[in-house]
Amino acid sequence: MCGIAGVVFKDGKLHRVGDSLTKMLDALQHRGPDSAGFAIYGGLGLMEDEYLLNIEVKEKPGLLEQVKSMVNTATQIKNEEIIPSVENYIIYRCKVSLNSFSQLKPLIMDIDKINDVIVLNGSHSFEMIKDVGLVKDIAARYDTHSKQGTHGIGHTRFSTESIVDRYHAHPFQSYIIPDITVVHNGQITNYWKLRDPLERKGHIFETTNDTECIVHYIADKLKEGYKLEEALEQSIKDMDGPFSYIIGTPNGVGIAKDQLGLRPGVLAENNEVFAIASEEVALREVIDTHDIEQISPGEARAYTI
């Protein structure tokens, strides 16, 4: 099944987005127990050239030092944090400076070459938190309730095609342009038809997961000059299969639903908040749900600050 959620505080100021999304995802826990994740935008407060790396490192003697050494050869580590996870892994977080965004993906690919190490993401304007297990446990591990931001998206995963691990937990991110993320419920059945032209353009796929394909597709469209809602609308025409997914960008969030409406999506909005989710039970955590809208088959909706 999977549960998806997104929230935007329309005033563009910092709010407890982590707390909102945690409550929304906890309410959607029944839709997927395998993993959960958050992309919380606007609260990192990084300098223009700074990026935050989230790196999964197996607990093995010397491995973390090897990772740090690799990062330090590319750029100086400005700040670091270790978050204990499960199954003998830690999450190593570090802040680095880069001359340009184009250096981020090559750095990630270099770090990924180390055995038992995977870069979960690298970002500038949002904080990615994703791990295996239940929302409550992940929320406690990463203190998601305290995370501030302007908007964000989140996911609870019921795995179907691909394995259950931190990397395959949603959100997925694209590096075609900065800080584009997706959470997804469903399947894209013409995956290879979408992937092939994106690869021909030089975009790099790390997995055979259809969710990764969505985020690259949307990032590619945004790079071409589409507005978020236009990119979502085009995706509904181009993508086959049952799906509803939510995109996060530095400026907002948007949802798209397949033409037959085979996956759920509901929306509620007032002067302060724009909220979307798989079910009303999540919306009611952040907004009055007297007036909720069912996202129609083939419909896309977006809100940008």
Partner: protein
């Protein structure tokens, strides 16, 4: 009237349904407080009892009921009253996809909008949508009636075999085997009686706006010869 109250907070759907079934035998009315849009509430209840859900319900509320009268004073998720055989489900707010999916009897009322595939594979019974009804409403409908006071979306009555869909607003497009007819006096009388009974106050002019979506053929897929003779 003897009433019984159940607080749904911190309870599972199974615990709530067990409590409903137990109390339904000894009470006339059951009130569910703090439903929190939970799924599967009032599933399989066969006692002719009144149930008030004081808030929103999730998926499959009132699935497979026989005789109960459920009033939801919030919204409902997907498939409310699924496969109901007898009874009543009234939703004051809006509802998701598949309202009254596969019902054999009874009445489902959604006061505001409904999602896609309202009344899919319904065999009998009545569904009233006070607002708009979504994509493929009446999909594979095999009997009964759907009444939509707002607009009906694309592919209305897709592959309808029997039954009728009454629409007061616009019909965006018809599905396969569906056609539009004018309503007759008997249809109008039934609509007036039914809608008045469920609190919809329409004018004479409103009733003139209704059209009826019915099947073009009772055997659209397997030829004209009926094996039943």
């Amino acid at each position: 009237m003897q009433e019984f109250e159940i607080n749904a907070n911190h309870k599972t759907p199974r615990e709530i349904n067990q409590a409903i079934k137990k109390s339904a035998k000894e009470n006339d009315k059951i009130i569910i407080k703090n439903p929190n849009a939970m799924h599967y509430m009032v599933a399989g209840l066969t006692e002719p009892v009144e149930v008030l859900i004081d808030g929103s319900a999730g998926y499959f509320v009132g699935t497979m009921i026989h005789g109960a009268k459920i009033h939801i004073n919030g919204n409902a998720g997907w498939f409310p009253a699924d496969n109901m055989t007898e009874g009543e489900v009234i939703i004051d707010g809006s509802a998701g996809d598949g309202v009254g999916q596969g019902i054999y009897g009874g009445v489902v009322v959604v006061k505001r909008d409904a999602g896609s595939r309202t009344g899919e594979i319904m065999k009998n019974g009545t569904i009233i949508i006070g607002g708009n009804s979504g994509f493929m409403s009446g999909l594979f409908m095999m009997g009964g009636r759907i009444i939509v006071l707002g607009d009906i979306s694309n592919d209305a009555g897709e592959s309808i075999i029997r039954g009728a869909i009454y629409v007061k607003g616009d019909i965006k497009s018809l599905g396969k085997n569906a056609k539009v007819e004018e309503i007759n006096d008997k249809d109008k009388e039934e609509l007036i009686e039914l809608l008045t009974n469920y609190g919809f106050q329409l004018t004479e002019d409103d009733y003139k706006k209704f059209k009826k979506i019915v099947p073009r053929s009772n055997r659209p897929f397997y030829g004209k010869e009926s094996e039943e003779g």
